[in-house]
């Protein structure tokens, strides 16, 4: 019986974590900012980190996920 509870907990964490990751990767800047604002409201303990993240997003950034390979 105990196995089941742990298993379900781990599975739930993995699923939620993956969903957040997918959402984050697929969404553009404006959606990410909206997501951070929503998280800001619902998760007070993370506020400091969220603020820093928001600041980093809003300054000029670029594509780091792929390299253009142009000469």
């Amino acid at each position: 019986m105990h196995h089941d509870v742990w298993q379900q907990l781990i599975v739930a964490l993995l699923v939620i974590g993956s969903s957040v990751y997918v959402f984050w990767t697929v969404s553009g800047l404006s959606w990410r900012l909206r997501f951070i604002s929503a998280a800001h409201r619902t998760l007070p303990p993370l506020r400091g980190r969220l603020d820093r993240l928001r600041h980093r997003l809003e300054s000029p950034a670029g594509c780091s996920a792929c390299r253009s390979g142009s000469k």
Binding site: H3, L14, S18, Y21, V26, G28, A61, K71
Partner: protein, 622 residues
């Protein structure tokens, strides 16, 4: 000049080895981003010298002069002039000259000298040049230019030491130069003057040009020949595709076996429950069915990188310029489009070198039709399932079909480009003016590094977004669980199954069943995800024996040939890649073009799948 940090900008002709030098000096201390507001890559790096000084290097886009013809070149000029608000003026310019092309580099050096900034001239690739008989009086050159001249071999370890040593020496001197506040764009006469002056200087320094072997000239004439050149190109491309298929089959079988064994082990050693299902059916089956295609991608890339390094690619652009011109594309579009065979994203970004805006847009619009490597897993799966592994006239049938699919993508692109050309009307000048660099043997170090990067990128995606999507898909396919006493396969009752059924209505006319419809949704995040999604969908809906069979056998037995072919046709056109659309949005600075792209690509995909499905049924193959 601040004592704390020195700002250095690298300027040079395209293909002068500037980037290799930049890499050599900065090592891994690099940061790649974009200049604010424009789609030009900004490469910044750091170097801390032995004396403790910190240097900030900026690798500016290659250019032939300070009169720009593209956005890239405009950035180089603006940064050098200090005109960019976001970029303070560099303290020192490092002019990277290609020792095998000194006249043009020297001309640029003379033009840059007029900026009035401290300049160091670097003679790069001196090893290659010396082998061909090059020599020059470096001291005299330095006197003539009024700037220090150092030699480097960017591709060799320690090859940039001379430059690094000189940076320290330079910054300890005070400079008498002041930036030229009266700088104006050079006129035609000015340009002519720089040419004449460069010629004079070279003569005064006893310059001996590196000889060009007659053999290489003959080879070039042959490879550029209208008939033989195209023939060689065609044979080369065909050979590459055959190789991708046949050489990869052994490593792929090994990976397949490994993944299956891993799944079996997990299933055997864990108690039954949701976690075991997530691990075995969701993650291992899903991610495994994507990783198995790594060998094919590596082989394809090895060829592309080797061709790029050898200097052959611009010659292919030359050969195809006429053909591409007839559909309204520039010959310069060849390299971005060829890159798109690996992934459309760097291909679309490479269109920045196309001067004409319309040409550039047309190239961006058709780039996704180039069969990117993410389609390979889908193609390979369907070909393995539906095309017999036979020989047809000495060629492998499966390889032939793969080639035909690639060809269909290209043909589709040409057709779309031609249609765009008709719509545009008008007749703007298409600039070609492409440099054909000297041939060289591909450098194995470069190749290995490039392949490593590619493998890392591919596995990164497999590890990252694909893994996450597989987990999410597993969840959507497992819950809600079927009610007690249910008769169908469990997955049919889940969220995914219901969504799949809804979509299947729209996709039924083209032969897609609900499993395919379900797999296409996570497949929007990336093309290769559909294979993993199918793996998950079928792993969950079958019993133990079905799960352990290879996915291709599963679909071979469950789908009709017509459905398999229709899905192939769908994948030739469908924009199953949100990342590409995001890049298009960024590069064109509007939602309009990615939207148009989405609509027209899905439209073509539906039509192609429909036609293929109906035709296949009509010929009674299904």
């Amino acid at each position: 000049m601040s004592a704390a940090e020195s700002r250095i900008a690298l300027i040079g002709l395209p293909n002068c080895g500037k980037t290799a030098l930049f890499n050599r000096v900065t090592g891994s201390r690099q940061k790649v981003a974009n200049y604010p507001g424009v789609t030009v890559e900004r490469k910044e790096g750091y170097h801390r010298s032995a004396s403790g000084r910190r240097y900030r290097l900026l690798d500016l886009p290659g250019t032939y002069s300070l009169t720009p013809t593209t956005l890239d070149e405009a950035i180089t000029r603006d940064v050098a002039l200090g005109r960019l608000a976001s970029e303070p003026r560099p303290d020192t310019i490092v002019l990277v000259a290609d020792a095998t092309h000194l006249p043009l580099s020297l001309r640029l050096a003379l033009e840059v000298k007029r900026l009035g900034l401290p300049m160091i001239v670097v003679l790069n690739m001196t090893d290659l040049a010396r082998k061909r008989g090059y020599s020059i009086d470096r001291e005299r050159l330095s006197k003539e230019l009024g700037a220090p001249v150092v030699e480097t071999i960017a591709v060799a370890r320690g090859g940039a030491d001379a430059l690094i040593r000189y940076l320290d020496e330079l910054s300890s001197e005070t400079t008498t130069l002041t930036p030229n506040s009266e700088w104006r764009e050079p006129s035609a006469e000015d340009v002519q003057q720089t040419h004449i002056e460069a010629t004079r200087i070279l003569a005064a320094c006893g310059y001996r040009e590196p000889a060009r072997s007659d053999f290489m000239t003959s080879v070039d004439r042959f490879l550029l020949h209208p008939f033989f050149g195209l023939l060689v190109l065609g044979v080369l491309l065909f050979f590459v595709f055959q190789a991708v298929f046949s050489w990869a089959s052994l490593p792929m079988d090994l990976i397949d076996a490994g993944v299956a064994a891993l799944g079996e082990w997990v299933r055997g050693s864990m108690p039954d429950g949701p976690l075991r299902s997530l691990l075995a059916d969701g993650i291992i089956a899903g991610v495994g069915s994507v990783i198995v295609f790594l060998p094919q991608i590596i082989i394809l890339f090895a060829f592309i990188l080797a061709l790029e390094d050898s200097g052959y690619l611009p010659r292919a652009a030359y050969l195809l310029d006429r053909v591409m011109g007839s559909v309204g594309l520039s010959g310069r579009a060849f390299i971005p489009l060829l890159s798109s065979f690996a992934c459309a994203i760097p291909g679309i970004m490479a269109t920045r070198t196309i001067p004409s805006v319309r040409d550039r847009l047309a190239t961006i619009m058709v780039a996704p039709l180039m069969t990117c490597s993410a389609r390979l897993p889908v193609y390979a799966l369907l070909i393995a399932a539906f095309i017999p592994d036979r020989d047809l006239g000495g060629f492998n049938l499966q390889g032939l079909v793969l080639f035909a699919l690639y060809f269909a993508g290209v043909a589709g692109a040409l057709l779309v480009a031609w249609t765009l050309k008709k719509f545009r009307g008008g007749n703007d000048t298409h600039l070609l003016m492409l440099e054909l660099p000297d041939y060289q043997w591909p450098r194995l170090g470069n190749l290995a590094y490039g392949l490593w990067e590619r493998a890392r990128l591919f596995l990164g995606r497999a590890g990252g977004i694909i893994l996450a999507l597989m987990v999410v898909l597993w969840f959507l396919s497992t819950y809600p669980a079927p009610p007690v006493g249910a008769t169908g396969a469990p997955i049919e009752y889940s969220f995914a199954g219901q969504l799949g059924r809804a979509l299947a209505v729209v996709l039924a006319p083209i032969g897609f069943n609900w499993q395919i419809s379900v797999a296409l949704i996570p497949g929007l995040a990336a093309r290769e995800v559909a294979v993993g999604a199918l793996g998950t969908v079928y792993a969950l809906s079958g019993d133990e024996t079905a799960v352990s069979t290879a996915l291709s056998s599963v679909i071979a037995s469950q789908w009709s040939l017509a459905t398999g072919l229709a899905l192939l046709a769908w994948y030739v056109f469908a924009p199953q890649c949100l990342a590409t659309l995001a890049v298009v949005k960024r590069e064109t600075n509007s939602w309009r073009y990615p939207l148009i792209m989405t609509v027209y690509l899905f439209g073509l995909a539906y039509l192609a799948a429909f036609a293929t499905y109906r035709l296949a049924l009509w010929f009674s193959v299904g």
